[in-house]
Structures are given as structure tokens and as C-alpha cells.
């Protein structure tokens, strides 16, 4: 297991886990998300099958309409 931070919470995940797998676990719909990995917002076309590394900090937030 490796330690990561997801949306501010420290947690353990399996080694070689993909970002998409963690997003699925939280029930986040990928098409509406903005995802930040280690302080950088990743482009919308990024490959979410990239593996998470130990101590990665990932934030994912969902945008919905209204204003």
C-alpha cells in the first residue's frame, strides 16, 4: 500500500493504482471534473489511467451549472 492525499484526506491505496480507479471509488463523474495532481491542474484530455505514486496529492472537484 502507498499513502496519498485525496481531496485533503490522507489515505492508503494499492500500489500501481490508476487515478481513474480512485475517482470511480468516490463516484465522481470524470467528464465534469477538474483534477489537480501535486499542485498542477491537469489538462482535460489527460490520460486518467496514469498510476498514482506514493505521497501524491490529488484533488478532484465537480463543476455543476447555476449562477
Amino acid at each position: 500500500m502507498i499513502k496519498i492525499t485525496f481531496n485533503g484526506e490522507t489515505r492508503e491505496v494499492a500500489e500501481h493504482i490508476k487515478i481513474s480507479a480512485v475517482l470511480d471509488e468516490y463516484g465522481l463523474e470524470k467528464h465534469k471534473l477538474i483534477i489537480e495532481v501535486n499542485g498542477e491542474i491537469i489538462p482535460p484530455e489527460s490520460d486518467l489511467s496514469m498510476e498514482i505514486k506514493e505521497h501524491d496529492e490529488i484533488n478532484a472537484f465537480c463543476l455543476v451549472g447555476g449562477g
Binding site: N7, E36, I41, P44, F61, C62, L63, V64, G65, G66
Partner: protein, 199 residues
């Protein structure tokens, strides 16, 4: 004119120097700007392409006799009824990925106050890479569920108000109380960032 006579000299000085961008002058932008003016902030850059419509009066800081006016000029007029000494730069045009940085690049903080997911995402993706501090909103439709409304510091320089899930739909239209909560949270967050208070 100082409309917030409760401010300390130090806070008053910080607020007088701040330049706040309001991207969208609808339910979020018009109400957020109103709160910021009452809080003592006096310099704004406001951009919106729309005109005031009757359907806006359910939540936006406009009045029936302003229907048909550009939202930018109508909002400036209303804000100046609170404080006539504001410095307001108005842009009656659509904010796009091409012009967003030239419109808001000099702002201390930019309030994302758009309606559509696409516009919200465009503004974040355009301005966050420049390190711009942004206060946006996501999830504010319908009535009730007040305690689900929160402000979150998500990315390095991005704060988001709302419940992060309730988008607008025919069953859950945008209405004054909850849009107002989100707009007030945005304004409160702008003030907190400027003053170094906890968000």
C-alpha cells in the same frame, strides 16, 4: 466614501487597494459585488455580455425598471447607489479563453460568477495557470439543504462555494436564497483572503 465604518484602519487600507474581478454579473456576480461594496471594497472590473431579463429578478441584484439594460451598467448603477465613490471598469462582452487574462490579469482576486459549467471550466483553466486567486461556485440550485453549502480551498489558488453537486434543472431552478448564500460565501472568502483571515 467609506461605507463600512466598522473597518479598522488597516483593513480599510487593504480593501481600498484591492481590485476584484467579477466574471459574470448574474445571480452570483451581482450579489457578491453588492456584499463586497458594503464590506468596503471599492475597485472592480466587471464583465458580462447579457442584458437584464425579467427572469433574472428572482435572484439577481437588479430591479424591474432595469429590464433591458446591460447587466454591467445596471450593476454599476446599483453598486454606486451604495457607494458613489467606486472605481468600476465595465466590459460588456463575452469572457472567453482568449480575452480572460487581458480582462482580469491585473485583479487581486477573480470571482467566477458564471452560470454554465463550460464557462466556469474555461475561466478556471485560463486563469489558474497564471497563479490567479479565484473564488468560484458550484452547486447552488433549488431550496433547502443550507448546511450542505460550504467553501472549499481545492486547488492551490482556487476556492469554491456551494454543495458541489446540485446543478440547475427544471426541478431545481436557481433561486435567490441559495444563490445568495453562495454569493455571500464568495464575498466572505474574498474578504478573508485579503485580510488573511481563515476562510
Amino acid at each position: 466614501m467609506n461605507v463600512n465604518t466598522y473597518l479598522s484602519a488597516e483593513a480599510s487600507d487593504i480593501f481600498s487597494k484591492a481590485l476584484i474581478g467579477i466574471a459574470g454579473a448574474g445571480g452570483l456576480g451581482s450579489n457578491c459585488a453588492m456584499h463586497l461594496v458594503r464590506a468596503g471594497i471599492s475597485r472592480f472590473i466587471i464583465a458580462d455580455i447579457d442584458t437584464v431579463n425579467q427572469s433574472n429578478l428572482n435572484r439577481q441584484f437588479f430591479f424591474a425598471d432595469q429590464i433591458g439594460e446591460h447587466k454591467t451598467t445596471a450593476l454599476a448603477e446599483n453598486l454606486m447607489r451604495i457607494n458613489p465613490d467606486l472605481e468600476v471598469e465595465l466590459h460588456t462582452e463575452r469572457v472567453t479563453a482568449e480575452n480572460a487574462f487581458s480582462l482580469f490579469g491585473k485583479c487581486s482576486i477573480v470571482v467566477e460568477a458564471f452560470d454554465s459549467v463550460e464557462s466556469k471550466e474555461m475561466l478556471f483553466r485560463t486563469l489558474l495557470p497564471h497563479g490567479k486567486i479565484m473564488v468560484g461556485a458550484s452547486g447552488l440550485a433549488g431550496f433547502g439543504h443550507s448546511n450542505q453549502m460550504r467553501i472549499r480551498n481545492i486547488a492551490k489558488t482556487l476556492y469554491l462555494a456551494g454543495d458541489m453537486k446540485t446543478g440547475i434543472s427544471p426541478e431545481k431552478p436557481p433561486v435567490s436564497p441559495r444563490v445568495g448564500i453562495a454569493a455571500a460565501m464568495q464575498a466572505n472568502t474574498v474578504a478573508a483572503i485579503l485580510l488573511g483571515e481563515k476562510i
